[in-house]
Symmetry: C3
């Protein structure tokens, strides 16, 4: 590939994103591509550490403006990586008090310069099951209806991000037990 | 609260927005917050009056560019208010000839700097009933289907505005006779 | 009309867009309006020809940056046309490897300055039938479900483009055998 593909991969909690991203990484490596596999939040924390922040809780207590600066620095750092593919695991939004706080607003996208935007979805019932079986999760009040709304907002924000950046947009369904297929569809989309 | 929350509240005609906004105002006041409760169109008209415009019909007859200037001035004025919360009642779009004219396009959002975007929805049948019972409304040709499309466009425009501004997005259903609950969900979202 | 209306008309393959656009052109001409009826891709190719490109295949082989430059030049050229109405037939996205490549990203919209954005839709089954009967099309793997997703992404990208540009947004259904009605709804929306 001539140019670096910066592939943002998002999905609401419970879609099985981590498994899919790992599988995408493995499939792309088998094609002898040089790949960077990273999490936006981790890069952001590395930027925070340069400023003397020693843990993530401390980072979350920074002012909105300080957190925004860290996000921009992380986006700039990621945009400078020049492997064939950069997989960027992040959130399109974070749910707080039932509201959707955009995780990739325009001012971050302007620095991140994604070339591909991937939304991993799953059936609402599969999502509920996965969340119920995840002992690290605090109980949430999600219902089939609320997850369908989350999906709709995710699709809309993704479409909007595509229009803003010109990046290609892709939606894949991660069916229970078929993460390799979801990963293959993403790999085919990227290259 | 450290920073002013600028809360844009939108909803298509018939969702019962005015009632909900008044209730949000009351609930927030009981928490001893300093709140400004305003309508974007009124602030825009106040800007027009400074230029010698004496009534709203006259304002609507201004050129597109002149109206745009008034909108920008209104947005700038609102963005300078520094109470705890500024509730901004306005329209995401205005329907004309079945088309959707954006009421909060990017160039206005860039001056308004909202921190929270709230969409009040209602069941299409409730909307039709409220509109039929409103003697001030001219008869409209809305159907369940057309209202469902309106809702979908509203959600998409809201999501897009969230990505553009970074503001938190919230959708609440105003169920018939339960405006206090809708208002409470908004108040919880804001603070 | 005082100002030029720049009307972008989009629709996924198989909605019958070409027929509808021709009909819109005819209906507007009967109202004695001066109309330019053009295809974005053709204007882009004319810009390419000025640089010595002799056919469309050659144009498609240009680098992403060179193609972007041609798109911007085409958008600038179109924005300078000052007839009453400019009908701009183009694509909201191009589907490649199941992904959606935005055809009208923000940086092109910023030069094109549309005043009206029209999405022509059709029932998924009608779309499948039209595609099956089109001998120039390579076989595609579209299903009712995939077309419904295409429609949803189109509506979202259209809404986003409306918020970005402030242009009025309009969605019409082109029912089988009723393209004149769809065209009339568009003509009514424009003027």
């Amino acid at each position: 590939m001539v140019k670096t593909k910066r592939v943002v991969i998002v999905g609401i909690p419970g879609v099985g994103k981590t498994t899919v991203v790992t599988e995408v990484f493995n499939q792309l490596q088998q094609k002898n591509l040089k790949i960077e596999n990273l999490t936006f939040g981790t890069i952001m924390f590395e930027e925070a550490q340069k400023l003397g922040i020693s843990n993530r809780d401390e980072m979350r207590k920074l002012s909105v403006d300080e957190q925004k600066n860290l996000q921009i620095k992380a986006a700039q750092t990621i945009a400078q990586i020049n492997t064939d593919v950069v997989l960027i695991d992040t959130h399109l939004f974070i749910k707080t008090n039932s509201g959707y706080l955009p995780g990739l607003p325009k001012d971050i996208l302007d620095y991140l310069l994604p070339t591909n935007l991937v939304l991993v979805e799953a059936k609402p019932q599969d999502i509920l099951n996965r969340r119920a079986n995840d002992p690290t999760r605090t109980r949430d009040s999600a219902t089939i209806n609320s997850i369908e709304l989350d999906n709709q907002i995710a699709r809309s924000m993704l479409s909007s991000s595509g229009v803003l950046t010109g990046a290609s947009v892709f939606i894949t369904i991660n069916q229970e037990g078929k993460s390799e297929e979801a990963a293959k569809s993403i790999a085919d989309f990227i290259i």
